[in-house]
């Protein structure tokens, strides 16, 4: 009995409830969830203090498997629900799990506004460049020329750079990693979870079933190798001569700045108003006392 292995993830999974999971063989979601759970474990966060909120899509099924306060919302709206939760209970660590279509197509508005407010959410985007759950339609991150069931002749639309979008909209922490780079992903999650402010982590993932099959990469291993070969850390990228940068995807912490955070700002407002109120009531007390003394005279 002594040698029964206990892995970190076993502390967090709802083992008696929601398994087997819905994800296809070769999917990156399980790897990424494992990285996230190990980050949470390393930081010593309590299960009760974590709210995990998701939208609709394959990655958005993550919360159901983990033993936190979990909320599976409507398509694109996870960040807006999370905003309400965080305002109501600022002490909760609110993690949003979303996908490329969920966050940048239908939920794009909430995404840029959460970044603008710099509200203290950890937004983890699993980017598999496709709508997986509905069977492989093109998303705002499907690269130009790549195939999808709704781009049968190849996508003619330019794709979003989600990290650039988050940074421009005002998020104070922006990072990118991949399903392949598990140690890096865990480390980035740890930093993102500790950051006070809107932190956005894009995790490039593989969908061999929907995306891979249509784009000559039906093996998950091949797709993971591409994550290894086509990406490089930001420091290495910056050393690269201009002509060699084409087609390379940058990983690591791309943006990390200190700026006012929304919940803090709101609390400051509440505090200043209550101070004002106290001042006013003191003044009223004084004036009523002076009136009393006058009337006594």
């Amino acid at each position: 009995m002594k040698n029964i292995p206990q892995k970190v993830i076993h502390r967090y999974l709802r083992h008696d409830k929601k398994f087997p999971h819905v994800w296809c063989a070769g999917c990156g979601n399980g790897i990424i969830l494992g990285d996230l759970l190990r980050a949470i474990y390393n930081l010593g966060l309590e299960k009760d203090d974590i709210a995990m909120v998701s939208g609709i899509g394959c990655s958005s099924r993550m919360p159901v498997y983990v033993d936190f306060n979990t909320l599976h919302t409507t398509h694109g709206r996870a960040i807006a629900f999370a905003t309400g939760i965080k305002m109501a209970k600022p002490e909760l660590k609110v993690i949003v799990i979303t996908g490329d279509g969920d966050v940048s197509a239908i939920g794009g508005n909430h995404f840029i506004h959460a970044a603008r407010r710099n509200i203290d959410l950890t937004i983890i985007i699993v980017n598999n460049n496709i709508y997986g759950m509905t069977g492989g339609q093109c998303s705002p991150t499907t690269p130009i020329g790549k195939f999808a069931t709704t781009a049968p002749y190849g996508s003619i639309e330019p794709n979003f750079d989600l990290c650039e979008l988050a940074k421009c909209a005002g998020a104070s922490f922006v990072a990118r990693t991949t399903a392949f780079h598990t140690t890096e992903a865990r480390q980035i999650f740890e930093k993102a979870l500790q950051k006070k402010g809107c932190s956005v982590v894009e995790v490039i993932s593989q969908c061999p079933v929907s995306y891979g099959k249509m784009n000559n990469m039906s093996s998950a291993v091949k797709m993971l190798e591409l994550q290894r070969d086509n990406t490089l850390p930001i420091a290495a990228y910056e050393k690269l001569p201009e002509e060699k940068r084409a087609g390379k995807i940058v990983r690591g912490i791309l943006h990390d700045v200190e700026k006012p955070e929304f919940i803090d700002q709101y609390q400051k407002l509440v505090d200043s108003l209550s101070l004002q109120k106290q001042d006013e009531s003191k003044k009223e007390d004084k004036s009523s006392k002076s009136e009393e003394s006058k009337s006594q005279e």
């Binding site: 709802r14 409830k17 929601k18 299960k47 009760d48 203090d49 709210a51 909120v53 919360p63 159901v64 033993d67 936190f68 306060n69 979990t70 909320l71 599976h72 919302t73 409507t74 709206r77 807006a80 629900f81 999370a82 905003t83 309400g84 939760i85 965080k86 305002m87 109501a88 209970k89 002490e91 909760l92 508005n109 909430h110 506004h113 709101y266 407002l269 509440v270 108003l273 209550s274 109120k277």
Partner: protein, 384 residues
């Protein structure tokens, strides 16, 4: 705008301001909204008042985000609300259904304006009655309340919060634009006379807790996020623990619970005001400001000896089927007056026995103007 809550003395109050006073007295702690005429004053007043009381206010990026944030705040334990009008109410429909499906208390005020689309932003209409009933997709029961005075804007806002907390569901307050912007002299009740209901909290250890526990009353205690009860909420059809299910028996269970927690408590939920109905031969059925015009017309008609009365629903959904059926039993004609192209008339027809009423009369006005007492009086004369 005056929002001072003076007790026992008459105050001149606007309908939207009365809603905010009702909400504050009911204990609202969170407002998420988006500016839209003719509901905007509700957001403006709460933007000023909530931070002063440690409450939370946020202007979201759109109405979809507004109701999402409201639901999120309620999940985390705060009494929450939003206020909007037709176009915004349309945008809220999907998440309104999420709130019903996942049984999250909150209040949605819809100050109706002329529609469809952008319609008549500053003019009254009663065109969203059916949208309140069936706007979100799928089978679902709805609670919607309908005030006809400034005092009732206050009272029904409190009632909307009470019903939402008690029955764990979003509650809609439907208002007429005229009421929202009209000012009336109102005497507010003292706060200690108010009945304020809060959601029932669980008293079991977390490992026993089920977020949608089966029980004969179909209403179960509700824990909030961060209280040590870790549970799952999903818009997917779920079992009593909250986890998704496709098992037909469990699907039935959930659907039945959602329906029966409302239909088993109609006596508690439905409020209706009969006005001169005891001896009425002719009945008028009208809600909101139209009912006010009807009352005036009835007083005039009675002077001429016409036995006419009014049935006014304060609860418009669930529709007061039984009350309307009973009250119409002894009348020979019913005039349905509404500021739309005919939404309530079909409900009244539905609940009256076939052949019982040979005569249904309609007053339907949708040109941005209120139905006047004169118009109703002319119809009464025609019917009599």
């Amino acid at each position: 705008m005056s929002t001072d809550r003076k007790v026992g003395k008459p105050i001149l109050l606007q309908g939207n301001a009365a809603v905010t006073l009702g909400a504050l007295d009911a204990g609202v702690q969170f407002f998420g909204g988006y500016p839209i005429t003719p509901s905007t004053e509700i957001a403006e007043i709460l933007a000023k008042e909530l931070p002063k009381r440690g409450g939370k206010f946020i202007q979201m990026e759109d109405e979809i985000g507004s109701i999402a944030a409201v639901l999120g705040a309620s999940i985390a334990g705060l009494k929450s609300m939003t206020a909007t009008s037709g176009p915004g109410f349309s945008l809220m429909q999907e998440n309104l259904g999420f709130g019903m499906q996942t049984e999250i208390p909150c209040v949605i005020v819809n100050v109706q304006r002329g529609g469809p689309s952008t319609g008549l932003p500053t003019s009254p209409a009663q065109g969203d009655i059916m949208q309140a009933r069936w706007g979100t997709h799928g089978d679902h029961p709805v609670i919607a309340l309908y005030p006809d005075s400034i005092l009732e804007c206050y009272e029904l806002t409190i009632r909307a919060f009470n019903l939402s907390e008690k029955y764990r569901t979003p509650v809609i307050l439907l208002m007429d634009e005229v009421l929202a912007h009209m000012r009336e002299s109102v005497v507010l009740p003292p706060k200690d006379k108010l009945k304020i209901i809060h959601r029932i909290k669980p008293n079991v250890p977390p490992e026993w807790y089920k977020h949608y526990m089966r029980n004969p009353k179909y209403i179960s205690p509700v824990a909030s996020f961060g209280e040590g009860y870790r549970f799952h909420i999903t818009g997917l059809t779920h079992d009593e623990s909250g986890f998704p299910t496709q098992v037909p028996e469990e699907v039935n269970d959930m659907m039945d619970r959602l329906l029966r927690k409302i239909t088993d408590n109609l006596d508690d939920i439905i409020q209706i005001e009969p006005f001169y109905m005891d001896d009425a031969e002719i009945a008028i059925f009208a809600a909101g400001v139209v009912a006010r015009s009807a009352k005036e017309a009835i007083i005039q008609a009675r002077k001429k000896g016409i036995k006419v009365g009014l049935i006014r629903p304060l609860t418009i959904w669930p529709f007061p089927d039984q009350d309307v059926e009973n009250m119409l039993e002894s009348t020979r004609a019913v005039i349905i007056a509404e500021m739309n192209q005919g939404q309530l008339i079909n409900e009244v027809k539905r609940v009256t026995k076939y052949g019982q009423h040979s005569r249904f009369y309609r007053i339907q006005k949708y040109n941005g103007l209120v139905i006047t007492p004169d118009e109703i009086l002319r119809k009464i004369a025609e019917v009599a």
